[in-house]
Each structure stands twice: as C-alpha cells, then as structure tokens.
C-alpha cells in the first residue's frame, strides 16, 4: 500500500516532482512558505485535479492524468488535517470528529479520540467558535485520525498546540503507527519535529520536490545549497576544489572567505567536482565543538581561533555566534549543552574551535538566488 506521487503542473500553481511513502512510514514534507506543500496534499486528497499526475496507493490508482483517471475524494479514504482546520462551524467538537464515521457507536468513538488528543471532556459539546486555537486544531487532528484511512495527510497539525500537548499527540501518532500501517505524510515547519517524527524528509521549494531521504542523510549530505538552507544547516561556506589528497576518497579544498582565502581542508572526495571548481560546503552541528586542551594532531580535525560575537541562552542549549580569524571575518554558529553557565565563553572571548573535517559535505555551488 505504498503511496506514490508524481506530479507536474504549472497552473494554478507550479508543482513538480514526486515522492513515495511506504505503509507505516512517516514522511515529512518540509519547505518554505508557499513551496506548494498544501497544494500537493490537496492533490493527493483529490481536492485539486492536477494537470499531469500519477498518484497510486498500492495497486489502486487515484489519479492518472494520462489515462484520464481521477478518483473523487470521497472514495480515497484519506485522513486529512487541513492547515486551517476546516471544522464545521455548526457542529460540536464531538460531531465534527464523528463526521467521517457511519457506525452506530460513532459518537462513542469520536469521544474516545477526543480524549486521546487530550481535549477536556467539558469541551466535547462546544462548537469551534467557543474553542481556543489549539483546541480546534486537536479536534481537526482527531477527525483525521478517527476514521480508518488509507493514507494520512497532516498539514501542520500541531502548529497551534503547545509542547506538552504536542508530546501527547506525538505519542498518539506513534501508537497509531503500530495499529494501522498506512502511509503518513506530515507537513511541518518545525525541523526538530520533522526529524523526531519522520522516517524520511521530502524537501520542497517553489513547487518543486528537491530531495527525499532519511533526515540524517539529508542533513549530512544535502543535494544542494538550497536544500541545506531548507533543512536549517546554518554553517554553510564557500570553497574551491583543489584536487585529490594523499589518500583515495579524500580531496583538498580551499576555504574561501568574503575577505580572502582561508586554510586548505582535507575532506572526503565523492568524485563529483572537478579541480578549481567553485563549491559550497556545509558542516553539521555535530562536526563542531570547542577544544578544551591542546589541538589534536589527527588530520581529521581542523582547529581555528574564533571570537564570540553573540551568546543566546535558549534553555537547554546555548547558541554562540563566532567569527573565525581564518578566513578572516567568517561567522559560524555553535550550539552548546551541558556547560554550566559559568564555564561558557563570554561575548568577546576568543575560543578554540574544532572542525571534524570528515563530516564536511561538498555541493556544487548554487546559482539561483533565494
């Protein structure tokens, strides 16, 4: 019952590309506002008839524009959380959730699902206008989950819900994934949430599907700079490829700063770039750390001196913005945990920074602008 989507249209909005989602798998659709995530969901649910598309679930074909096939939404059996909830204003929370059900104990099942999404019983008989934003959203989630869907489509289902209620909902989703093995697609702007919940990410921008893959894979080797941006990789730099290094599978790259060239780095060579080619490279957060002692000699490590520009304390983690001396004036971001306040470097301090060069990922330079 794998969901496979391929789509190509220009109007009313551009949509290109596709993705697939195994039963029981959760795929997170991420991308900037206006990327086409909601539109793609609407196409899957059958609310929009795309110009060219092929959408299949297992053996069933829901849409095949080549064959002129289009299954109406009623027959697709999708559980869809609308981004703006689309609750029926004339129905109570309970009746909203019971909407897709037909059996005699539909109200009991609706009530049960409302309980599971953490809604207080006194709210079951309220109409949407008398509920808070997050309460409405949980009703919408309950309505999507209560039926026995063939595909679950969740369009930012937790955006109005606080952290604690979110955890309840995460647990509910996890439970559900064990009960019903259907493809699940989640749109979210919260990258942490995406990585926490999803087996795979699908990265979209400007209506185009850019990359699908496991979160850590995309995080460590984004296909291009746009994807790197989109998955929140902040430490992105420029470089010039300077050819093979001493060992096979390794190459040399010059770090290019705004104000001049930086050190030469010994990095993994995947054979995709040519000598003197301009490249964009990223290093994930786990490849950065402060050195406490003397600089290590292992060529895997690069040690830099950097000055602390700003320090943001974000609860469990502290965010540092650092400026390196080499290449001059390049800034990078570092997250720290487990350091007592007193031991944190202060703004203006100079610290010694360690880069794990084996985690550097190199991409062809982006040509399009943001």
């Amino acid at each position: 019952m794998t969901l496979r989507v391929h789509i190509a249209q220009e109007t009313p909005m551009r949509l290109r590309g596709g993705f697939h989602c195994e039963p029981g798998q959760m795929v997170a659709l991420v991308g900037p506002s206006g990327a086409g995530k909601t539109s793609l969901m609407r196409a899957i649910a059958g609310l929009m008839r795309p110009q060219h598309a092929r959408i299949t679930v297992g053996d069933a074909c829901w849409c095949d524009s080549a064959a002129g096939l289009f299954v109406p939404p009623q027959q697709r059996r999708v559980g869809l959380v609308f981004q703006d909830y689309a609750l029926m204003p004339h129905m109570t929370a309970q009746h909203n959730v019971a909407l897709p059900l037909h059996d005699p104990d539909r109200l009991a099942r609706a009530t049960d699902m409302l309980r599971r999404v953490g809604l207080a019983p006194e709210l079951y008989t309220r109409r949407p206008a008398q509920l808070s934003g997050g309460q409405q959203q949980r009703v919408a989630v309950a309505r999507a989950l209560v039926r026995d869907p063939a595909v679950l489509l969740l369009d930012e289902p937790f955006s109005a819900v606080d952290q604690m209620n979110r955890r309840t909902l995460y647990a509910l989703l996890a439970e559900l994934r064990e009960d019903i093995a259907v493809p699940m697609v989640l749109v979210t702007h919260d990258l942490t949430e995406a990585r926490l919940l999803a087996d795979e990410l699908v990265v979209m921008a400007d209506g185009e599907v850019l990359q699908q893959g496991r979160p850590e894979v995309i995080h460590r080797s984004p296909r291009n700079a746009r994807v790197a941006d989109l998955v929140g990789i902040v430490n992105r730099f420029e470089g010039r490829w300077e050819g093979a290094a001493d060992a096979p599978g390794w190459g040399l790259m010059r770090w290019l700063g705004a104000a001049g060239d930086g050190p030469q780095l010994r990095v993994r060579d995947k054979g995709k770039v040519e000598r003197d080619q301009h490249v964009t490279w990223v290093i994930p957060g786990e490849g950065l750390a402060l050195c406490d002692g003397t600089p290590p000699t292992d060529p895997r490590w690069l040690c830099l001196l950097a000055q602390v520009l700003t320090q943001h304390h974000l609860g469990d983690v502290t965010l540092l913005r650092l400026q390196t001396d080499q290449p001059t004036g390049t800034t990078l971001q570092l997250m720290l945990t487990g350091q007592p306040h007193t031991q944190l470097p202060a703004v203006g301090d100079t610290v010694r920074l360690r880069l794990d060069l084996s985690l550097v990922h190199i991409m062809p330079s982006r040509t399009v602008s943001a």
């Binding site: 649910a45 059958g46 609310l47 109406p72 939404p73 009623q74 697709r76 059996r77 999708v78 869809l80 609308f82 703006d84 689309a86 609750l87 029926m88 204003p89 004339h90 909407l99 897709p100 109409r127 206008a129 008398q130 309505r143 039926r147």
Partner: protein, 222 residues
C-alpha cells in the same frame, strides 16, 4: 370572518412550500455552485414571474392551462385533471409566482458556504447527498428560512394570479386575500378590517414561530 378562505390560503401556502422546497433547494444549490456563463441569464429568468403584473401573469397562465388550451385539454383527457378554477390550478400558479422568492434567498444562502467546508465534507467521505444534508443545508439554513417565510407570507397575500386562475370559487379557490378584497369592494369595511387583522395576526404568529423554530444559535462570542 371567512375561516374557510383562511384555511384554504394556509393549505395553498403549505402546498406551495411543499412543492417548491425540493425544487428550489436543488436549483438554488445548482445555481450557487454553477460557474456557467449562463448563470446571470438563468438568475434573470428566475425573476421573470415577478415582472408581469399578477393579473396579467394569471391571464397568461389561464390561457395556457385553461380548458381551451392544449395543455389543459391534454391534462383533462389523459389525467382527468382540470388545471384551472380549482386547487390544483391555484397551486400551479402559486408555484410559478413564488419561484423568485424561493430561489433568490436560498441561492445566496448556498453561495455563502465556504468552499473549504464542502471540501472537508468530501474528504471525510460524505456522499454528495450526505454533504447536502449535513453540511450545506444547515449552513444555508438562514437563507432557506428566509425563502420559506417569504413564500409562505406572499402566498397568503397573493391576489391577482390566484383570482385569475382560480375564479374566486368559495371553498375551492376563494383565498383569504380574495375574500378580503371582496369585502372591501362590497364596502363591508368592518368585515374587511376584521379579516385583515386576523390575517395579520396569524401571519405574524406564523413568522415568529417559524423564525423561532428555525433560529440558529448566534455565531458565538468571538
């Protein structure tokens, strides 16, 4: 007070509602959803029964439904039904004359439903039929109520068409409106006032009762 005439009028008004409600709901909904370029023309067509003076409309109806007309003859010969000077004739005329009152407010009611909610209904597996009953009708309800109240009240007061097609036969086609008119023409002003007052009080109660029964809780504090 001509209770018979009042009863007849109420029967006529209810029968008109009964006939026009399903027809009206379907056509109003169709018009509301339609993106056809013919839509304004159809809407104008729906208005036409209002344009002609009622007696003239009644005259045309009589000419096309009466015993001498092809339609009238056909109905008489094959169905054994007379389409004029009886309740059936009144009903036909009343239905035609009330089309604009029934369709316009209903159509606006259906048009006011956010498309998103219809989508939500279909995604939740509701058939067109279930969507209509459980989503569209409740949400279009104020418009439907308006249409029904306008039609009901208007049928009570309708005079020209009914007189022409019905012929003022006591107990059969003499509605309360015609009875009041007769009283006025006969300078029986006392009788006319009494009947008018009765009709006004009755309609007020009917309208209040239906608005009360069909009221919806306000949209909520926010």
């Amino acid at each position: 007070m001509d209770w018979q005439a009042l009863a007849l009028s109420v029967q006529l008004a209810l029968a008109t509602l009964l006939v026009l409600l399903p027809v009206g709901l379907l056509s109003a909904r169709w018009l509301a959803r339609s993106r056809s370029p013919a839509k304004p023309w159809l809407e104008a067509l729906v208005m036409l029964p209002l344009v002609l003076p009622p007696t003239v409309l009644g005259y045309y109806l009589l000419v096309s439904l009466g015993a001498a007309s092809p339609l009238g003859r056909w109905a008489q010969d094959t169905l054994g039904l007379s389409l004029s000077f009886n309740f059936l004739g009144l009903l036909l005329a009343s239905v035609v004359f009330n089309i604009p009152f029934m369709l316009q407010p209903m159509q606006r009611g259906f048009e006011a439903i956010p498309h998103k909610l219809i989508e939500a209904a279909t995604v939740n597996g509701l058939s067109a039929w279930a969507t209509f009953w459980r989503v569209e009708l409740p949400l279009a309800w104020p418009g439907v109520m308006s249409a029904m109240v306008l039609t009901f009240v208007h049928t009570l007061g309708e005079f020209g068409v009914v007189l022409m097609v019905g012929g003022n036969i006591p107990g059969e086609t003499r509605t309360i409106a015609i009875a009041i008119y007769d009283r006025v023409q006969a300078f029986d002003l006392h009788g006319a006032h009494l009947m008018s007052l009765t009709l006004l009080v009755f309609s007020t109660l009917a309208v209040v009762a239906s608005l009360w029964a069909g009221r919806r809780t306000p949209e909520g504090a926010r």
